[in-house]
């Protein structure tokens, strides 16, 4: 390991510009003659649009144009798409309702886009929007899955009269039912996975621009995957061919999945820019973000776990209703299906699993991938089931897990996944030691003496990430491949630009990717620049989500670096006047085997461009290589989190006292950044467990649409974490990386709830476990104890 190579805790190169305010986000971008867009949004959850009268609004000062769905339709521009096909139990395709960028004939959720006003200033656009007269025919709304599936519920999309998007299943039902029939003990749980609003620090924004001379479009957008955005806007929505369409995602301030998707706003901005022949800018305000960013989670699940006489798990049976919101967002359909059910085996050897998932339209904002995407929901199901089963069987929850761990690899689960490497017992044992689980009883007694309830909860999670390989996801219905690309450009004096299809929006790629290159080429890390987020610079890429940038994105760089090294060796052979086979490259130096002849990387780069030392017919000048990398499997990060907390039964306030996380992310590029990802992930998971919840009332009104009503976790709510690691290298990529971006958010919610229920002595609590709920539950505990 060098000081800046793989494994070094290099400080993030990008942080200087971020903490000094020198970052360049979409809202920092202003184009000459730019106009501003303001979206008039539906105040109704479900209504027909009888008429939109823009006459008065058009007279408003500064108005450039006002467009409605009819205008977009007239331009033959397509609607937004869902790029993952799911099939019903009977083999028929899912029922995907049309998703126009601006509503046509009907609005389906509060915040749905009714019209866009484009004006010289934002204030003028807002003022004009006030004057648009929309005649709504209000319809009854269905704001939750149960209401939406009731007989007589309002139909949200005509293609799905009963609001069922799909009725999907996975696993062997007969084998699972048989295992349950033969079970010694069955644990049953009803689980709600609460709906979350992503809330990245930077809200979404877009600037669309049209260049008359080249008849081309440019879109600056807050995207985690600008190439996918261009692909969708070009090929499916039909705004312009790819060669006339540049998408730039500059600095992006967090996404957590919510910026994967292609939304109405950027579609409209870039479309309108051509219509009005001016750049058009839109920046979401926070309440717009609450209303219109794709939300996360929102599952209602009944789950059962069967055990035999030896306390071994024999089967798991899960039935889930997933709220998809009013429209299918870009990858929404995959989240409660292939990103969910295949993880229901957890870290355990479970012979039979059967999961059925019903996806349901409701009059709420679309729901799609959010940090973990399906895997937090699966982990919550299996880790609550396992914990409760252990308690019911009077077995220590850690021991029960250990008894059922997968211990031999590769391990084929009954639900698609083939776990390639891991050591789950190592993580559990290390976590128990680091946490001082042995001292818990004494700490609990000390809490009790102060009138507090103390609880300890485990979560032994596994996730599948580094989302890929392409053929595998294609066979599951994905409309795209999930490889990654990289291009290594070595400049004549030996500095390097890495063009990557991954996109950094907080992950620190400019540092970790540069570490890989610095270590491999033996050059200073300052000499490596990472270029991403611009379709005119990077040819093609799949973007960043699913903890895939390390495992897939960096692997592509490795492949391109392999080619660079091979080419540079050819150049070095000419320069050093030796046979190519005798050239060795190490620590930034080319040497000739058995001699003292050497040349550093920079001088060989220069020679590659000067091209005096070799015949251009035999060897191409220059030093630039690219690679596409498609891995052989998903990666399977896993680990154990232990949450220990104290409940004040008088107030219901939960105080997390200690948190231990031991993760196996495979090989680690930068331990400091990995630890930061774990910290952030836990904070988000604790947010879900204790604070966050998007609430729609029965009319479909979002009543948690600001930080006044939607609680985010704060520093004071979180302890100082103990973070440890175990490492089993991932065999399916050249770096042995598994990915760490989502693990914390996946692992932590069940750890919190397992700790709370451990403290309370009963299982009757739902997320978010707010003080009000915990107080009520604590009263129930007290009554139960009194009765006993």
């Amino acid at each position: 390991m060098t000081a800046t190579g793989i494994g070094a805790p290099v400080r993030r190169k990008e942080d200087f510009r971020f903490i000094t305010g020198a970052g360049r986000y979409v809202d920092d971008i202003n184009r000459p003659g730019q106009a501003y867009a303001y979206f008039l949004r539906s105040p109704h959850a479900h209504a027909t649009i009888n008429k939109i009268d823009t006459t008065e609004a058009m007279k408003s000062p500064g108005v450039v144009a006002i467009f409605t769905g009819a205008d977009i339709e007239a331009d033959k521009v397509g609607g937004l798409i869902c790029g993952w096909a799911i099939f019903n139990k009977d083999g028929s395709p899912m029922r995907a309702g049309a998703h126009p960028a601006l509503a046509i004939g009907k609005v389906r959720y509060v915040g749905d886009h009714v019209a866009v006003v484009i004006a010289d200033t934002l204030a003028q656009a807002r003022d004009a929007a006030e004057k648009i007269d929309v005649d709504y025919g209000v319809l009854s709304a269905a704001a939750d899955v149960t209401t939406a599936r009731k007989a007589g519920a309002p139909t949200i999309h005509d293609v799905a009269p009963d609001n069922q998007v799909y009725d999907w299943h996975l696993g062997d039902k007969a084998a699972t039912d048989a295992a349950f029939a033969a079970a010694k003990h069955v644990t049953k749980l009803d689980i709600v996975n609460n709906r979350l609003v992503p809330n990245p620090m930077e809200p979404r924004a877009a600037v669309g621009e049209y260049d008359i001379g080249s008849d081309s479009l440019t879109l600056y957008t807050t995207s985690q995957n600008p190439h996918v955005a261009r692909l969708v806007l070009s090929a499916f929505i039909g705004l312009a061919p790819e060669n006339k369409f540049r998408v730039i995602a500059p600095d992006v301030g967090g996404g957590f999945g919510s910026k994967i998707f292609i939304y109405a706003e950027e579609t409209v901005c870039v479309w309108a820019a051509r219509k009005v022949r001016r750049a058009v800018k839109w920046t979401s305000d926070r309440t717009e973000a609450f209303l219109s960013d794709a939300h996360g989670r929102d599952h209602v699940t009944h789950a059962e776990l069967a055990t035999d006489a030896n306390g071994k798990i024999t089967a798991v049976r899960v039935s889930t209703k997933a709220n998809m919101g009013a429209y299918l967002s870009t990858f929404a359909s995959s989240v409660p299906t292939y990103l969910y059910a295949p993880l229901l085996s957890g870290q355990y050897n479970i012979p039979a699993i059967y999961a059925e998932v019903e996806a349901v339209y409701t009059n709420t904002a679309p729901v799609d991938a959010y940090r973990g995407a399906g895997r937090p929901e699966a982990t919550y199901v299996i880790e609550r089931l396992v914990e409760v089963a252990a308690r019911e069987l009077n077995v220590d929850p850690a021991e029960f897990r250990r008894r059922n761990f997968v211990t031999a690899f590769p391990h084929q689960t009954p639900v698609i996944m083939a776990y390639d490497a891991g050591d789950y017992d190592a993580s559990l044992t290390k976590a128990q030691q680091m946490h001082d689980v042995a001292g818990f009883a004494a700490r609990k007694a000390a809490s009790a003496s102060k009138g507090k309830l103390r609880g300890l909860g485990y979560s032994a999670y596994i996730e599948a990430c580094g989302i890929a390989p392409s053929a595998a996801v294609g066979s599951l219905g994905a409309g795209v491949g999930l490889w990654e690309s990289a291009e290594v450009r070595v400049n004549p004096i030996g500095t390097v630009e890495i063009l990557t299809g991954s996109h950094s929006h907080g992950q620190g790629h400019e540092t970790t990717f540069a570490q890989l290159v610095s270590g491999r080429l033996g050059i200073p890390i300052e000499n490596v620049s990472i270029v991403h987020g611009d379709t005119d610079k990077v040819q093609m890429g799949m973007g960043t989500y699913g903890s895939r940038s390390g495992a897939v994105g960096m692997s592509a760089i490795v492949k391109a670096l392999d080619k660079i090294e091979a080419k540079a060796k050819k150049v070095a052979a000419h320069v050093l006047e030796a046979a190519e086979g005798d050239i060795e490259f190490k620590n930034g130096k080319f040497t000739v085997k058995g001699t003292d002849k050497e040349a550093d990387f920079g001088s060989i780069a220069l020679q590659a461009y000067i091209a005096h030392k070799f015949n251009g017919q035999e060897l191409e000048p220059g030093l630039k290589e690219s690679a596409f990398w498609d891995p052989t499997n998903f990666t399977f990060p896993a680990g154990v989190h232990i949450c220990e907390l104290e409940i004040d039964p008088a107030t219901g306030v939960v105080t997390i006292d200690r948190w231990t996380a031991v993760d196996d992310f495979g090989n680690v590029i930068n331990p400091m950044i990995v630890e930061g990802q774990v910290h952030g992930g836990i904070a988000q998971g604790v947010g879900q467990a204790l604070f966050e919840g998007a609430v729609y009332d029965s009319d479909g009104q979002l009543i948690t649409a600001s930080f006044m009503d939607y609680t985010m976790p704060r520093a004071q709510d979180l302890p100082s974490y103990n973070v440890g690691m175990t490492i089993t290298a991932c065999p399916s990529n050249p770096l042995g990386i598994k990915g760490c971006g989502e693990a914390g958010a996946i692992a932590s919610p069940p750890a919190v709830i397992n700790a709370i229920t451990n403290a309370l002595g009963h299982e009757n609590i739902t997320m978010p476990a707010t003080p009000e709920k915990v107080w009520k539950a604590a009263q129930a505990s007290a009554q139960k104890m009194a009765a006993e």
Binding site: L40, V110, E130, T287
Partner: protein
């Protein structure tokens, strides 16, 4: 989101006078906070516009009000809905009943209202408070107005008798005025 408000208020006027005032667009207009216009379209329908501010949300509401179950001079049901553009909408109704008391007329009201859009998103916590405040103001003004019509010499006192009871009416029973106001507001939204 739904909101309910119930209450009663004692007015220094006879039932007939109160009833008349309740059906007089001019009186209502002058009493409804923020009301910019209130016009009778027909006997039982009014068109209204009002400017309302709830916390950070300020908007002009346009809507229609229908008077139903008319039982002069004992009461009616009033229903309506209003659109406030980007601020959202409000709709709702109120049952208003009048009864004789020694000092004049007791008006009871029972309001049920729904708000949506920005009002629900940002104003949810504020709406009850704003509605009550508007109700207080409405009933104070309304008491003064009916007092005047009744020929009560001292509107200030009449006003006091309506406004002062506010504490007595307190949160649950702030008076039909509040409800009226509230539903009016809602209507305009």
């Amino acid at each position: 989101m739904a909101m309910t408000m119930k209450g009663e208020v004692d007015l220094p006027a006879t039932k007939e006078v109160v009833w008349k005032a309740l059906n007089d667009p001019e009186v209502l207009k002058s009493c409804i906070p923020g009301c910019e216009s209130l016009e009778k379209i027909d006997d039982n329908t009014l068109a209204a516009t009002a400017k309302v501010k709830v916390g950070p949300v300020s908007a002009s509401f346009k809507g229609k009000v229908n008077l139903l179950d008319l039982d002069p001079p004992n009461g009616y049901r009033i229903e309506g809905e209003g659109e406030g553009g980007v601020a959202g909408f409000a709709k709702g109704g109120a049952v208003v009943k009048l009864s004789d008391i020694p000092t004049g007329t007791k008006l009871t009201y029972d309001v049920e209202a729904q708000v949506g859009g920005k009002l629900a998103q940002l104003g949810a916590r504020l709406i009850d408070g704003v509605a009550k405040k508007m109700a207080d103001q409405f009933f104070a003004d309304f008491a003064a107005a009916v007092g005047k019509q009744e020929g009560v010499a001292a509107p200030a006192e009449a006003q006091a008798s309506a406004a002062a009871p506010a504490p007595a009416q307190n949160s649950e029973a702030k008076g039909w005025l509040q409800r009226l106001i509230a539903w009016f507001m809602d209507l305009w939204r």
